[in-house]
Amino acid sequence: MKRRKFIGMLAGAGACMAASTATAGGTHHFTGYPESFGVLFDSTKCIGCRKCEAACNKVNELPAQPVPFDDLTVLDTRRRTHHDTFTVVNKYSVNDKPVYRKQQCNHCLEPACASACFVGAFVKDKTGAVSHDASKCVGCRYCMIACPFEIPTYEYHDPITPRVRKCTMCQPRIEEGKLPGCVEECPKGALVFGRREDLLNIARERIRKHPNVYINHIYGEREMGGTSWVYISGVPFEKIGMREDLGVTAAPELTSGALSLVPAIVGLWPMFLTGAYALTKRREKIAEEEQHHAVAEAVAEAQAEAAKKTKAAMDKAEREKQAAVDREVKKALKEAEEARLKAQTPADPSEQ
């Protein structure tokens, strides 16, 4: 019964594997949430009034800023987002004309921050917003390393409860049917909120209608696998501070391959290392046995050698003994012979 159960489990596992290969990452194409929202930014319409910054500050209840939002001189400096500013507008001088660009989280379709986060604190919501859950955050700041747009900011001044901060696409407001704060306040219609697909169509339409005005590219359509915040511009994107060398690969794909090796190593290494250990033990065992045999052989050889020597010595002793006996016998015989000869010569002419 046990064997059958085991085979049954194997069959079940096999069936599961067959079913899941249909959705394996290798060939599957992820399209994202179909009805998700986005924002279209048209830099030809932006006048750098900073009303979007003010709105963002208000809607998110961010701290008051040292420089008021109607002060436009700050546009002469290059600014980036900080823990208390989720969006900034920068001024760029292109062909001696000012061009403005609003900078905030681009709410990527496959966010690098979400991929990087080792507690899963970032979520790409069906609304399109990429949200951060500060209740999970450990403060490792890997999301800041990963974000190609340099968006997440950190509360370095807070010793106990520092948070990662960034634009939320006003997800709570969107869910209530309202517009994001910045979009609502823009006086020039540089920001348009809607379904991402619709925004892309609007963008394409504008480019088609005014080919001399716009660069023929929608930034964010495919960059980093696509973003929810898309841009069109009258000047090359590089000139308004947007990197054109980011590529179209979605962030998770950058690590997916290497991460797949982890279970392979965990599976294979024990086999190889145990094998190395077994080979070592076998080698040692053979070496020990060989030594055993060599010792036994040497001992036997030594014993044989000793026996041979002993026999040789004994034979020699025997021979010597015999030789000594022979010599004594010879000597005795000789003495006897001499005595006999001496006894046999009585008539000695010298004696008359």
């Binding site: 080792f118 450990v138 001044h157 010793p159 950058l254 290497a258 991460l259 290392l273």
Partner: protein, 389 residues
């Protein structure tokens, strides 16, 4: 050393006074960091979220503690018994190394008290950092158990010592698996930032590079520390240690030469695969060549000659160059070639407090190491447990 002088006289050696000063300053800065926040002691910014605490304390600390898995694998898996005396010192260095990496991490994490989160309630398995955290936590446990016999022997807790020692084979294998994973995963972290790391250092092979280079890093630390132990702790070494030392130095030198040679080749293949040759003619290219030729190829050749000519002194110098090379590589990837495109005024330079806290942590680690080497049967066998391993 005379035992008849007053304790205070023998304790306040110049080295110990320096240690005390560093520890004192470090403690003050620690209080500042935890009461006033990261910003009060670091130069970290939103553009530069990781500084030397990650670049040096974490990345270099882990790489240089690699002697543990390499030495124990050589002895227990590949049967190289002549290196046996090097195992305990290597495991001790590794254990303390990893323990202090976690300690240093507590300074860098914004919410250090949430360190257990990813391994308990909020796992984030898509992240290489999750992989690093999991493996470092498990490996620290492995090392603790592998290190413990030295403690149990001193305390004469025979049963515990027997149990810990009986796990040697499993722990050694598990240790190699975990080390392969976390050494490579630290490189894998940077796979997510191709737009921020200079192309000569960014490669799809980053994880492999980190793992391969950790091997000579670990071997070199064993050679380096072995030489220092020989010089300053000779009286703590038993005859086996003294006899085996030259073999360890030269054997490890040969192994390090081979691995450095392999690493050197692989790095160039990495350049070829991404067709990055044209970067070599830039300033960054020159810096890359300095790292490759001066701190990978050079120590490789030094080790090779040392092994051939049985020159222990040359091997010792090679170990220093190798260690510096690994440190240089990790710092290049995390701090120098990272954010290379940012304008100079936005680039990161560590604050003196960050440097001081790093010095404090390293000093603390060395102090604990010195205590261990002096008080525990690491450089010698415990008389009651001779030959028991």
């Amino acid at each position: 050393m005379s035992h008849h002088t007053t304790p205070s006289k023998t304790l306040w050696t110049p080295a110990n006074i320096l240690t005390a000063v560093i520890l004192a300053i470090g403690l003050i800065l620690t209080v500042k960091r935890f009461t006033m926040g990261l910003g009060s002691v670091t130069n970290l910014t939103d553009d530069n979220p990781w500084g030397i605490w990650i670049g040096f304390d974490l990345l270099c600390g882990v790489a240089l503690a690699a002697g543990g898995y390499t030495t124990s694998a050589a002895v227990y898996l590949f049967g190289m018994k002549k290196y046996h005396s090097a195992v305990r010192p290597a495991i001790t260095t590794a254990f303390l190394g990893y323990a202090f990496v976690v300690f240093a991490l507590l300074y860098d994490l914004g919410r250090y008290y949430r360190l257990p989160y990813p391994l308990t309630i909020y796992p984030g398995p898509t992240s290489f950092l999750f992989e690093v955290g999991l493996c470092v936590a498990l490996y620290l446990t492995v090392l603790a158990i592998e290190f413990s016999p030295a403690l149990w022997e001193t305390l004469r807790w025979k049963k515990l010592r027997f149990w810990a020692h009986s796990l040697t084979l499993v722990l050694t294998i598990f240790g190699v698996v975990l080390s392969t994973l976390h050494q490579s995963s630290l490189g894998g972290l940077y796979l997510l930032a191709p737009s921020k790391l200079h192309p000569l250092w960014y490669s799809p092979y980053l994880a492999l590079f980190f793992f391969i280079s950790s091997i000579p890093a670990g071997l070199s630390m064993v050679i380096f520390e072995g030489r220092l132990s020989h010089k300053f702790l000779h009286h703590k070494m038993d005859q086996t240690h003294i006899d085996e030392a030259p073999g360890v130095t030269l054997g490890f030198a040969k192994a390090a030469a081979v691995v450095l040679f392999t690493y050197f080749n692989l790095k160039w293949i990495g350049v070829a695969l991404d067709n990055n040759w044209h970067y070599l003619s830039t300033g960054w290219g020159t810096w890359f060549l300095v790292e490759m030729l001066g701190f990978v190829l050079l120590p490789c050749l030094m080790y090779a000659v040392a092994a051939r000519e049985k020159n222990q002194k040359l091997a010792f110098w090679a170990s220093i160059v190798t260690v510096l090379g690994i440190v240089l590589n990790r710092l290049n990837i995390s701090l120098v070639a990272f954010n290379w495109q940012l304008p100079t005024e936005l680039r990161y330079v560590p604050s003196w407090e960050e440097i001081m806290i790093t010095v404090f942590i390293v000093t603390l680690e060395i102090t604990v190491l010195r205590i261990c080497l002096n008080k525990l049967p690491i450089l010698h066998e415990h008389p009651e447990f001779k030959g028991a391993h």
